[in-house]
Each structure stands twice: as C-alpha cells, then as structure tokens.
Amino acid sequence: MKRLLLTALLAASVATTALVPPSAFADSKEQYVPLPTYRVGPYASSGTLWWAGTLDYFRYINEVEGGVNGVKLKVEEFETEWSPDRTVEVYERVKNGKDGAPVAFFFTHGTPASYALIEKGAADKIPLIDPAGGRTESTDGTVFPYAFPLLFNYFSQASVGINYIAQKEGGFDKLKGKKIVTVYHDSAYGRETQAAVELLAKKYGFENYQIPVADPGNEQSPQWRQVREIKPDWVFLRTWGVSTPVAIKTAQRFGIPADHIIGDVWAGSEADVIPAGAAAKGYQALAPYPGGASFEIHDRLRKTILDTGKSDLKDKKFFGAVYYNIGLINAVLAVEALRAGQAKFGNKPLNGEEGRWGFEHLTIDDARLKQIGFYGLLQPIKLTPSDHEGGGAARIQQWDGEKWVLVTDWIQADRDTLRPLIEAKSAAYAKEHNITPRSPTAEN
C-alpha cells in the first residue's frame, strides 16, 4: 500500500513538473484576456451565445480596429461548467498573465464565483468584473477595491422593477397598499434583492411578499397557488434557467396575466420565453442588455465579422439575441475600461492595478456611445472609486410572441435610497475582515 501511495504521488509529481506553465516574460505587446466560460453543462445554451458576442466584439477590435489603441487582445477560454470551484482554478492559472501579456481584469461570469474570488482578487490586485451580478455591497469600492458589480447591481434591479411598476400605476403615491409578489430562485442570486425590496416597501407603502422556488424549479404549482391567493397587483419574477418558462406557464394556469409579471435581467432572454409558448406573450423584463440586432454596432459587426465568416456564432439567427448582446456589452465595457486606463498609463498592456484604475475612471456618455455604435443598447455609465456600479438603469422589453420589443427608455434605479443599505453591508464586511476603507480622494 505504501508503495502504491508512493507511485501515485510520484506520478502526480511527474505530471506536475511536465505541466508547469512557462514562467512569464516581461514586455509583451498584448493584453491577456482570460475568459472562464461554460459551453458544457446545464447553462451551456445561454453561455454559447454569450461567448459568441464577447468573442465577436474582441475579434472586431483586434482585426478591424487593430487592437485597443494598437494593443491586441489575446483572448483565451477556459471551461468551467458554471462551477465556482473550476473558476477559482482558472483564476489561479491565469492571474499572472501568459507569455508576458498581463491580466488587467477577470470576468467571473457568475455570482458564486465572484463571491469565491473576492478576497483573492483583492490580494492579487486583479479586478473582478461581474456585470449585472456580483456581490451587491462590493459596489462600495472603498471597501472592495477590486470587485466590480458593474452596470446594474441586484439592488438596482429591484429598484428599477419597482420604479417601472410605479410608472405603470401612475406615480409612486399609487403604490400604497398595492400587493407586489417576488417569486425568486432560492439561491444567492435570488435572495440578493430582498433587503432592497423590503426597504422600498417601507418607503412606498406597498405590501411585499417573497415566495421562493427551489432549484431547479420545474414544478411550481404550490408557489403559484400561493400567488393566486394573495391576488397580487404585480409579480416580480426573479428566476433563472428552466424555472423561468415554467413560472410563466404555471402563472397562466393560475390566471395571473403575463403582462403583470416583470422578469428580472436573468429571466429576460429568448431562452426564457420561447419554451413558455403563447403564455409568455405580453411578459415584460428588465433589459440592461436589450435584445435586437438593429443597433449601429450590429451593422458594423454584420459587415466585418458575421458576413466574413469570422463570427463565433454557429447559427446566425441568434445574432442580436439577448445573450449575444450581453456578450457584446460586457466586451465593450472591458475595452472602454482599457482605453480609460491607457489614457493615464500609456498605450500598452495594463496590469491589474492599472486595469482597476481604468475601470474606476470609466466614463461612457451618449456621444461616446454613438461613436462606438452602442447607443440605445448600452446605458451611459460613469464609475468612480467609490461607485463600482456606475449605471443602474435598464430599459423594459416586452415579448410580443416572436421577439422582444423595447417599450421604455432607460429607467434609472433609485440609487440614493439604496446606497445607505449598501454602505451598511460593506461596513459590516470591513469590520469582519479588518479592512480600513480607503479614501479615494487621497489617492490619484
């Protein structure tokens, strides 16, 4: 047995030495962009479109624009199957860059992975980017210098949902006494909005009901019977994966009209409504990432990437799908952050610290959006060292039975109301982990 152990360990160590990655050489002209992806596993159908969008935009930058101010992006994918454990391994593998090309940011592509990496990222000085996800309180960059729940954190998602309901009802004063039910996926993602909705319920005087759906959620009759008994005015649907179409269909069976259900970001793609069939007609969803292929950037990509056969998309009918656009938007945020960083540090590949500076000074206004072709698709965004979200708005899109139709302009979240809640949570974290919040005005 001993000999066996020895053999095993020896084999492992031989494998170890054989596979040690070559040490990094300085002075590369490329920016290394590692992407943890999931083309295999339960979420592959959404992931595949997502990575296609991201890769197509990076390809467009590299091949059409000649890189980010001349710095080419060296993109590499790593399969994780959406498992935070695998993502942690990938992060450790890539954090020192590759062949001298440094890492300026790391997309976690999943809230659980963001949680798992938050301290490692801070220690290694690698910005962790998780647009429309992540740990909500990491919006406070003074306590979480290297975590970015970019664009649209969970509290903002709750707030925009409530604001839209108020708009439909005809004003915030009309919310008083209304019944708003949140049906949520019982997971870290699903629970993240609870504190925010509770606060808003107190402020506006609506009745707040929270009904959990256990993962994976392919049978929801008890939940919707409960919803039926409450007789809600509105339903906020915060499900994910298979639980969304099931929820929409079950809601119809219990007589809840689809046009009074508002889906969250991650319950608002084609994959969420097509399986629900006719029941989904009229269903609305928050869209920080609107669907559609008629934006300026799509014309550019169609000409240079799609029609030249360089696209990662296997089926062209998904061009402009919600998940494809998620990929595009995340990629453009990264590229613009690199530009912001390069404006300070020079047109060269950036390291993690410089990447953070770039993200913290990322500003994209309407003029810039028109320049890069994202006007209407991406909201204007402005980050600061203490605000790692920077956006906080979404449009509302409605499913007409065949495609998503945008029904509103950008609706801004009530971020001032929610900020104290975020600060309370981040202060608790700082205390628990002995972190002295940095003061952004002191550094530059």
Binding site: L4, L5, L9, A11, V40, E77, E79, L117, I118
Partner: protein
C-alpha cells in the same frame, strides 16, 4: 481487504502460530523507505518546486477530495454501507466551522475539529435507518440527508450569519498566530491534516472496529452470528465517515475556495466523491488518492493539453465536449480493465514488475 496470493504466509513473519484459527493481530505494516520518502517529497520537495498555482489550485483540492473519498470509503468500501449524502455532510462541516468561528469566536483548528464532531453526530442520525434498510434503499435515504442539509443551510439565515446571499466567508486565515492565507500555508495545513487523518484511518481499518466493518460488509448475517454488533458497527461507520467528510468540507470551503455556499456541496459533489472511490478502489486507502487524482487532475491535464495543441484550430465548444467524451471513455476503459479500481490495477502492475523475469 483480501489477502493476495503473493503475500507470504503469516507464519513466516513469526506473528501468529499456524495452530491459531484466526490471527489475533494483523501483520505490522512493512515500514520500508517508501513512506518516509513520500512524506519528505510531500512536505519538503513539492512546496519548493510547485508554484502558487500548483499548490493552491491543484494540490490543495486534490488532497481535500482525497480526504472526502477516504471518508466515504470507510463507510462504503470498508463497512459496505452505500451513501449519496457526502456533499451534504461536507456542507455540515463547512457551515459548522463557520458557525463556531463567527458565533462562537473559536480559533480555526478547534472550530474545524468540533465541526467534524458535529458532522459525525449528523452522520450518526442519518445512519440510524441502516438498521432496517440496505443497499440501494439506504442510498436513497442518504440522498435525503443531501437534500435536507442543502435546504437547511439555505432556509435559516443564522447559518450564514444573515448575509444577503447565503455565502459563508471567513476573515483572514490564521493558525497559532501565523498567516496561512498563502498557497504554501494552505498546502501545509491541508497536507498535515490529511496525513494525520489518513494515518488514523489506516489504524482504524486494522483495528477491531475496522475488522468488524469488513465482516459486516462481507456478510452481515454471518457477522451477527459470530457476535459482531452489526448495528453498532454500521452506525459507528456512519459517524466516522461523516467526521472525515465534515473536515473535508471545512477545508474545501475555507482553505481552497475561501468562501462557500450550499451550491458548492450539491448532489454533484456527492457523485464526485462516489466516483473517486469507485474509480480509485473500494476498500483501499491509497485508492482514494489515486481516484481523487484521476477525477480532479485528469480533466485539467486534458484541458492543458487541448489548450496547448488545439486552441484556435478547433471550435471551443466542440473541444470542451470532446474533452468530456475522452474523460468518460477513460473511466469506462479503466473500469472494464479493472472493476476493483485503479488501486488494484496499479498493485497488479507492481506485482508483475517485482517478479523477475517480467511477464506481461
């Protein structure tokens, strides 16, 4: 633990006379140079050679999975009780450690130890039905443990200290005043724990308890007839196994991932641990390490090789699926070649190589 034919008869070592009906003591372990060399390699050489990535992201999870496999192997491979609740018990270990540190203010090593005891208690409770049900039915009841703990640690916010997302994280890792947050520190702590617990497990399987387990596994009616307390043996096996799984869960959460939620200990984790012992070898201590290496290192090796040779030439999604297929084929191949697991395969190979002239 079957005696293989090539082992020398017991009498030649002067341990037990031939006239005895059964040996009262097992032959002492053959303490050659193998074990010290192995320990020297693991403690002295590997940390010097391996970079941060290899220590922190490859070897630490490998060791922890080996420990989890060891825990399940004591229950399934030695005592013959099937279980699919490993993930749930690992979650108990992780959440109990967190509770002891955050709510109780205990130092980490003590918290992990106590969490192991808590998990042992939980395992004992879920081992109670083993009195009446066996085999696949027992497996289903252990599945209940898996789902119960997943539900429990999501439902009650006290377990994750009222955080907004149900994720548990510990402040900076410290052990007797030393910072063990670095990859080396985490590697040493994990390795020491695993070595200690492996040593205890080896001793346990060679003791009265371990032999009772094997008797129960091989035929519980016969074991009862010769006076072995069958039920108690089973319940003790559940408790000990859960203790190991609890420790493994705590290490997984705080020394490898850094933070965890119940999703890290889902049903797929239970299957992973089960595959480790099936592939490595049931009823074998070394099998856990081999199985864990196979399960955790092989996909990475395939991934490294694929990235090195094919990245950019083959469609990424296809490449990932091919890797899965290769991994699956390897498992099937190994199990057809040797249903008793890789440990047996390697032992057979070793025996063939040690008999000169070589025959294949």
């Amino acid at each position: 633990m079957s005696q293989t034919l090539s082992n020398p008869p017991l009498v030649s070592r002067g341990v037990a006379p031939v006239t005895r009906l059964a040996p009262v003591a097992l032959p002492g372990p053959r303490l050659g140079l193998g074990l010290p060399a192995l320990l020297l390699l693991a403690f002295g050489v590997v940390p010097q050679l391996g970079g941060e990535y290899w220590l922190g992201a490859i070897l630490v999870p490998f060791l922890i999975l080996s420990l989890a496999g060891l825990g399940l192997n004591l229950l399934t491979g030695y005592a013959g009780q099937t279980s699919l609740g490993s993930g749930g018990f690992m979650a108990v270990g992780a959440f109990a450690t967190f509770g002891f540190v955050v709510h109780g203010g205990l130092p980490l090593p003590l918290a992990i130890f106590l969490a192991g005891l808590v998990t042992a208690g939980a395992g004992l409770v879920f081992g109670l039905p083993s009195d009446r049900i066996k085999g696949f039915y027992l497996m289903v009841s252990s599945l209940a443990a898996q789902f119960f703990f997943e539900w429990l640690f999501q439902k009650f916010p006290w377990f994750y200290n009222y955080g907004s997302s149900g994720t548990i994280t510990l402040p900076r890792l410290e052990l007797f005043g030393f910072d063990i947050g670095s990859a080396q520190g985490r590697y040493y702590v994990t390795l020491s724990t695993v070595v200690l617990l492996t040593w205890i497990a080896v001793s346990l399987t060679r003791s009265q308890i371990g032999r009772n387990w094997m008797a129960v596994r091989d035929m519980d009616t016969a074991a009862a007839v010769i006076g072995i307390p069958v039920y108690r043996s089973k319940v003790v096996a559940f408790a000990v196994s859960s203790f190991y799984l609890g420790i493994a869960g705590a290490l997984w959460a705080f020394l490898y991932l850094g933070s965890a939620s119940v999703q890290s200990f889902g049903i797929s984790r239970s299957f992973q641990v089960l595959f480790i012992i099936i592939i490595g070898g049931m009823g074998s201590i070394a099998g856990n390490f081999i199985g864990a290496a196979f399960i955790s290192l092989l996909p990475l090796a395939i991934d490294h090789i694929a990235q090195g040779f094919f990245a950019g030439h083959v469609d990424a999604g296809l490449l990932q699926n091919i890797q899965k297929a290769i991994f699956g084929l390897l498992i099937i191949g190994f199990l057809i070649k040797e249903p008793d697991g890789l440990a047996r395969l390697l032992r057979t190979l070793g025996e063939r190589l040690s008999n000169w002239p070589l025959r294949f």
